[in-house]
Each structure stands twice: as structure tokens, then as C-alpha cells.
């Protein structure tokens, strides 16, 4: 077996983990994860009876394929002392290297979509892996509700569902989301960090966490707790701003909690925050609807 390791981003989600597993299987590489799986991903792997990839928290000295990310801040620790040989992704590029490597990025709803298109012939004969890719598409596009969703994601999902023997895509998507879509009884630090990404916006360190919920009232009930944790995080870790996105996947909108300059939030989203948060109707995607306006507000 090859010594190449396929690995997703820190704070792994279903797309990054499933894409790593499937791409490793296609290429004869090994898969790994830089962090513990979240409840949704664990539910998906359990559903398809696929073992979790081993944890790799420092990749120094390894040969890596990065899936579902390319920004240095999201890469596994030690990657600066690893050899990155390939990138498969669906995010904006922020990547510099010293030698030409394989890079395949498409502006679609999930990395799984990129893989399902490129390796359609392989996937056709591997229903379990088709199921993992379907789960990843549904997870990353929030069952096609995220504005990152493209027609290709829907087409690919329909094909994958047939191969995997999933008859009701919507119902399967809600099953996946239910596994993680509640913060009841969870420590607030865990809630905020389960899907948390660091960004560099014009030299400023900005952290953005996101949780999807079936009912946003779960956030409203714990607003004070959320805000004090964000302020603590900002002060302790040198952030210019920390944002937590509570996304109601039924109402299709998000409450944005923040610790930082309210004027920057207003500049970014064209709406005055009420206290330490603001509701944004229709906003569901950190990548497409939260990070870009925030970056613009910080850099322009």
C-alpha cells in the first residue's frame, strides 16, 4: 500500500472525512483525520459500516493529499514539514507551493461532488462509497438549501442515491442532520468548536464557528453563555473577531453571535447588530455568505 495519506481539514466535517476515505480507496492511499469526528460524521460512518480513519494530529514528514481545504490555517499541524502532492477541493484558493502539484478545485457544493463526477465509473461499482459521498453532498449543501448548492450537486446526489440504494434523499438528509442538529446539554465550548475555522483577513486572525440546528431557539436560550465564551476566546487567543453562526436549517437563516467590533459586523452585513448578535434571513453558508463579506469589511 502506498504511503500517501489523504487528509481533510481541522475540525473535520462529513464532507472532509468521507471525501478522504473515498479518495484514498480510489487511489490506493491511506485516509486519516486531523481531529475527532463530529456526531453527524460518526452517524454516517456507522450507517454505512465504514470504520473511522485513524487520527493524525501531526503530519510532519508525511506525503499528503489535502481534500476539502487548501488554506494553511485549516491544514493539519506539521504540514509545513510534510510534502503536499495534491489538492482536491471546492473552496477559494489561498495556497502557495514551491513546485507544481496536482490541484483540482471546482466551485460546487461539496468536495464529494468533485470526486463523484471525476470518478463516476469507479463509484458506480462501490455502493458503500457512493453512500458516503451522498452523505457528504447532503451535509455540505445542507440538503441543497445552502446557496453553495449547484445543479451538479443535485444531479450527482441523485446518481449516488441510486447506486447506494437510498430511495428518499430528503428524508436521508434530515436523518444525517438530526445526528448533530441539537446543542441541548452540550458544553458551549464543544458546540462552538465542533465546526470552527480560522481565517486570515488582511493580517487579522478571525475565527468562525457554525452549528446547524432544527430549532434556533436552542441558541436563544443560551445567548448569554455563547457571548461570554466568544469574548473569552477572543481575549485568550489573539483573535480580532470571533463569530458563531447558529443556522436554523428549517427556517433557512442564521443568528450570528460575535465578539469584536460591532461596526465591522454592520459594515459586513449591512445591518446593525442587536447587542452581541444579529439574525440574517437566508444566510446558511459560512463560506459563501459570512466569510467573504467579513473579509471585505476587514480589508477595504
Amino acid at each position: 500500500m502506498s504511503d500517501v495519506i489523504v487528509i481533510g481539514h481541522k475540525a473535520p466535517d462529513t464532507d472532509t472525512v468521507c471525501s478522504a476515505i473515498v479518495y484514498a480507496a480510489i487511489k490506493g492511499y491511506k485516509a486519516a483525520t486531523p481531529g475527532e469526528l463530529n456526531e453527524e460524521t460518526a452517524w454516517v460512518l456507522n450507517y454505512f459500516k465504514v470504520p473511522a480513519p485513524p487520527l493524525l494530529q501531526n503530519a510532519a514528514g508525511k506525503k499528503l493529499v489535502l481534500v476539502d481545504h487548501n488554506e494553511p490555517a485549516q491544514v493539519v499541524d506539521g504540514a509545513d514539514q510534510a510534502e503536499i502532492i495534491e489538492i482536491v477541493d471546492h473552496h477559494k484558493m489561498n495556497f502557495v507551493c514551491n513546485t507544481p502539484i496536482y490541484v483540482h478545485v471546482e466551485p460546487v457544493g461539496s468536495t464529494a461532488t468533485v470526486l463523484a463526477k471525476k470518478y463516476a465509473d469507479w463509484v458506480k461499482n462501490n455502493p458503500t462509497y457512493a453512500g458516503l459521498l451522498l452523505s457528504a453532498v447532503l451535509s455540505d449543501t445542507v440538503i441543497f438549501k445552502s446557496p453553495t448548492t449547484t445543479d451538479e450537486d443535485k444531479k450527482v446526489a441523485a446518481d449516488l442515491a441510486k447506486i447506494a440504494g437510498i430511495s428518499d434523499i430528503q428524508a436521508f438528509g434530515i436523518d444525517i442532520k438530526k445526528a448533530k442538529a441539537s446543542i441541548k446539554g452540550k458544553p458551549i465550548a464543544d458546540v462552538i468548536h465542533v465546526d470552527f475555522k480560522d481565517f486570515d483577513f488582511g493580517g487579522k486572525k478571525v475565527g468562525i464557528g457554525q452549528t446547524e440546528l432544527i430549532d434556533i431557539n436552542e441558541c436563544y436560550d443560551r445567548a448569554g453563555e455563547i457571548s461570554s465564551y466568544l469574548n473569552e476566546l477572543k481575549a485568550g487567543k489573539g483573535y480580532a473577531m470571533v463569530v458563531f453562526i447558529g443556522t436554523d436549517i428549517i427556517k433557512e437563516g442564521s443568528e450570528l453571535y460575535f465578539a469584536g467590533d460591532a461596526a465591522v459586523m454592520e459594515k459586513a452585513f449591512g445591518k446593525k447588530p442587536e447587542g452581541a448578535s444579529m439574525w440574517l434571513d437566508g444566510v446558511m453558508s459560512r463560506k459563501k455568505q459570512v466569510a467573504p463579506p467579513l473579509e471585505k469589511a476587514f480589508t477595504s
Copy 2:
């Protein structure tokens, strides 16, 4: 017709121009060039009776596909005010954007190789464009002598030659190279700038020009003239270093002329320069054999 423009890098070469023309034809886009064509490229277009793409020296406000480059320093002027929707390339990545776009990069000998592989079915039915791609592969790999050459380049070239009706690939490659492989009677500034690229090595501006020759003695005869022009260029344009690579494609090596710190050259290439230049046996590729060690010498 779409308003998308496919464009190659500044100081255009045969790969960048032919790849732009062919990709524009495949996609129904328009091709453009950010600078005048060199003699080699003009010879190739004339051979296949394909008109030169129009000159576009400022791309502000346009929608662009970049072929054969991605580094900001090599992109057409005004690109910071253009929308870049896609990149097809075979160079190292040094690209940052605010939104996900299509990126397709492979570590092969030419961008033409990437296109010929991906659009094999289309190319099969378009012998003229197959001829352009073949010319680009032969040009960028220096008829397979450059260390950037991969088995895929050779395989693709064999297929393209069949489609284009070129029976002797080697002879055709030498015909292409002959069109530009002499500096006799040319002003030295033109010789140095015809294929000249700016790099940013750890914040230092470094310029590297290259010319291929059938006989390196043409450089030796004008060594003084080359050196004084490089020194003038360095002083006048704020370069930390300017290098000119005279590559003898028959002897398979290069004389590197430079204006700048001789100690950096020695650090980069492990050999003490004799005066203002040094011969490096086997060195033919700026991208693979000159730029990376120089970058390392400047940054480590």
C-alpha cells in the same frame, strides 16, 4: 459568443498562446494575448494557418480564464480589477482569491498536455488545434529534453502528432525551435525580454529571462553586452537580482548570466560563478532548475 477571455502569461510563449487559443475554441470563449508573440509562436501559428489572438494589455473589467500561469506577477495588467473564473496550468501555485473558482493544475511539461488529456475527444476531431497543442508540448518541454518532461507529455504528443498528421515529431520540434533559437543581430534588450518573468522570492523582486539556442557561442560572443544590460535593468527597476539563462538545446545545458550577489548564485547552484556567469550542465528549465534553488537561496 461568450464574453469570457482566455489569456496566457506576460511575455507569451508558444504553450501559453496555443493553450489560450485551443481552450477558447473548446469552450466557446475568446482568446487574447497580453503581449506580442515571439518568433517561435508566430512561426507555429503561421504553419497551421491560425490567426494570432488579439492583444489585450489591460484586462480591467473583463471575465478571465488564466492558462499556463497563476502567479500575480505574471498576470496581464488590470487583472486585479477583473473577474478570474478559472485557471488551467502546470506551474506551482501562488494564487489567492475570495471565492471558489475552477482550478485545474497538473505537474506535467505543458499546459497543452493538461488540455489534450482532458479534452481528448474534442481534440481528436480538430487536427489544426491538435497541431497547436503538439507545438506547445514540444516547445515547453524543449522537444522532451527539459527535466519538466513527463511520460504523459510524450504519450500526448504522439497522439496529437497522429491527429495533426505530423510524421516526424523530433524534426518538427527542431523546426519550431529554430524559429527563435538564434540571437544573431537582435538587440540584447529584446533577447532578454522575449521570455522574461518576474518572481517574488521572500519579498525580493527577481527577474529571470531565458533564451534557447542551437549554439551557446552566440551568447559567449556577446557576454559583455548581456552583463551590462542586466546590471542596468537591476539598477533601474528595483530588482534584487536579474538572471538571464542562455540554454543550448543541443548541448543540453545553460549559461546563467546574472546581475546581483554572486554569493546567492553560489548558494543556489553549489558552484562559484566565473565573473558574471556560470555554466550549468543539464540545466534547461527555469521553472524546475533555476527558480526553485534561487528562491531557496533568497529565503533560507
